[in-house]
Symmetry: C2
Subunit: 138 residues, 2 copies
DNA sequence: CTAGAGTCTGACACCCGTGTCAGAGTCAAC
DNA sequence: GTTGACTCTGACACGGGTGTCAGACTCTAG
């Protein structure tokens, strides 16, 4: 199939598909006369795997290493890629740290929201009487 | 105090402090003869507030709106900043969505890690240098 | 043959806080 | 007077997947 069809079947834009190829994630054949990319049926699944991993926060370089190890089944890894687990765990830690950071950010915002002056608070439960009119600095 | 001192006291680089000013977050006086920025003692706290909000995922435009409403105390909001709570809640929702997205990413990675082949030490061709037999850490 | 859809490559923009550099001016200390 | 630390402005780069455009070529249906 050509790039337009693959785009429709995967939801990835043609732009993205060309980008994935340039990053070494896809290797479509080329039509000799036209130069058009010719994708195989397998590539539909490959692109979906790529999208999944991108959504997981991995970049194309990491995915390029990971992709050859993925097999047909649900997120399963091919044998012989055991060393990859180290990389995956590193990614996992990275994402985990990001989650922790954002969770802390939520706390900061919640503190601010809770401390909002009573007249502006959405939730009446947050209302407090000690509205101290401190001068607003310029 | 001048920019170097403020940088040391806040941990923000001079580059960042100049950036914050350009974004309207700081308004230091200028020495008439030298043109050097002159910061007030208050600015130390202001910069710390800025850093906190940036760490919370807010951008400088949002912070510019938010900053005049913050008072001296811990994350408290000044009165008379109606409508701000709505903005804060929107930011909260945005971060919350990001957390959910990353959590889903963690699931994807965990699925891959769990599906990894059980230490294929049998096949030397698959051995990798960085393949440490470390257990999956969570 | 022709119109229109499909595809090609290459390039620029975006986000947005931060790092870094260059060239020049300022200030305090010796 | 000289040296060295400090500061100034402006500009470029980064990450990194994606949007979008321009100009040109290819394919297919009528």
């Amino acid at each position: 199939m050509r790039i337009g069809a693959l785009s429709r079947r995967t939801g990835a834009s043609e732009r993205s598909l060309r980008h994935y190829e340039k990053q070494g994630l896809l290797h479509p054949q080329r039509d000799e006369s036209s130069g058009y990319r010719e994708y195989r049926e397998d590539d539909v699944r490959t692109v979906r795997n790529i999208r999944t991993l991108l959504a997981a926060g991995l970049n194309t370089a990491v995915i390029a290493d990971l992709l050859p190890c993925m097999v047909e089944d649900e997120g399963e890894l091919a044998p012989g890629c055991a060393g990859l687990v180290t990389d995956l765990n590193r990614e996992r830690d990275r994402i985990s740290a990001a989650v922790a950071e954002l969770a802390a950010s939520l706390d900061v915002l919640d503190t601010l929201i809770t401390a909002a002056p009573p007249e502006t608070a959405d939730d009446p439960a947050c209302a407090e009487d000690d509205a101290e009119p401190s001068p607003v600095h310029s």
